[in-house]
């Protein structure tokens, strides 16, 4: 960092991630960042584990979904006067080392969003073929519907300035929030850059990831959202 960002917060949405969330939070804390973990109504000890690892924990009383949890974390971080926010997955597939690169990207003048991309440098490990096909279809849909020339979509690793975060208001509670963010970035006309990031797929993170059937649910959610104010 060049010093323009003074109070960055990392937002982690977590649901039943007790086996890994402690390691994830410790890694981010060791890298020197404040972390808010939004425990999305977990049935296990996710919130307690995150708290012990050094995170601020905001607990949803009921399970609402990853999109809702991220919005909660964003609002909490903004209340703590965060001047930059990074969204980070709880399942251990992101590297804390990527946070500095994302923050450096939004320190450039006029840039409000830095979106992690798995495909800029082929920065993926163990990405299964079925997941690659699903992501390609999602990418095509996102490019067609937002007009944004992104190379990756549904990547949970992104950074935004406080101004960018205030322009985002997620109302897609579940998985469609990743497309919704890109739609809102396009509508806000704020500038973004993509930053190559490594995603380390493990058996654990693949077990938690989206399936092909989820794509239909996401499409229905996005369509239904357009019907009401």
């Amino acid at each position: 960092m060049t010093g323009l960002i003074r109070n960055p917060w990392v937002v982690v949405a977590a649901y039943n991630e007790a086996p890994v969330v402690g390691t994830v939070v410790s890694g981010i804390r060791r890298a020197g960042y404040a972390v808010v973990v939004v425990d999305d109504g977990s049935g296990d000890r996710t919130g307690d584990v995150a708290l012990l690892a050094g995170a601020v924990v905001v607990r949803h009383p009921i399970n609402l979904g990853q999109g809702a949890a991220l919005q909660t974390g964003i609002e909490y971080a903004l209340e703590q006067r965060a001047d930059a926010l990074v969204t980070f997955d709880a399942d251990g597939q992101h590297s804390p080392a990527a946070i500095a690169a994302l923050l450096a990207a939004i320190e450039q003048p006029g840039i409000d969003f830095a979106l992690g991309s798995r495909f800029l440098t082929g920065a993926t490990a163990n990405l299964p073929v079925s997941r690659r096909i699903l992501l390609s279809a999602a990418l095509w849909f996102t490019r067609a519907s937002t007009g944004l020339p992104v190379t990756d979509t549904h990547n949970g690793l992104r950074a935004m300035t406080a101004r960018g975060a205030r322009a985002i208001s997620l109302r897609q509670n579940r998985m469609a929030h990743a497309s919704e963010i890109l739609h809102q970035i396009a509508q806000s006309r704020l500038r973004f850059v993509e930053v190559p990031v490594n995603i380390e797929y493990s058996a654990y993170s693949l077990g938690k990831g989206q399936r092909i059937t989820d794509a239909l649910t996401i499409l229905i959610d996005l369509f239904a959202r357009r019907l009401y104010r």
């Binding site: 939004v38 601020v56 809702a68 909490y76 209340e79 509670n173 009401y228």
Partner: protein, 122 residues
Amino acid sequence: MIAQLLLTAFLALVLVYAWSAHRTVPIIGLLAGGAALAGLYFVWVPEHATALAAFAGIGRGSDLIVYTWVVISLLIMLNLHIKLRLQLDMITRLARAVAIDRAKDMLGRKAEAPPIELQAKK
């Protein structure tokens, strides 16, 4: 004549429903209103319903009215679905406010509490 009056009463209720739905879900209000008006027209000018049904290949005008009714029912179901989503929206905001307030309260209590060593000495 009795059937015509009953259908008119039902369709008038649908029009009122469409008007109220229009405020929150404009597209549903518009479609349900349009379908109800078309239904009213066909109820009172059945020969046009028959002509349109023949043109559309449905067969009888009464079938067309039934189909119109089915469309209205589906639109009402879609509206209910959207209303459930709006309710979830409100629940989400409420749960978020509760979660953030609790987290701030907990941090506030931590900041106010004396260090553990001091508590032990007391």
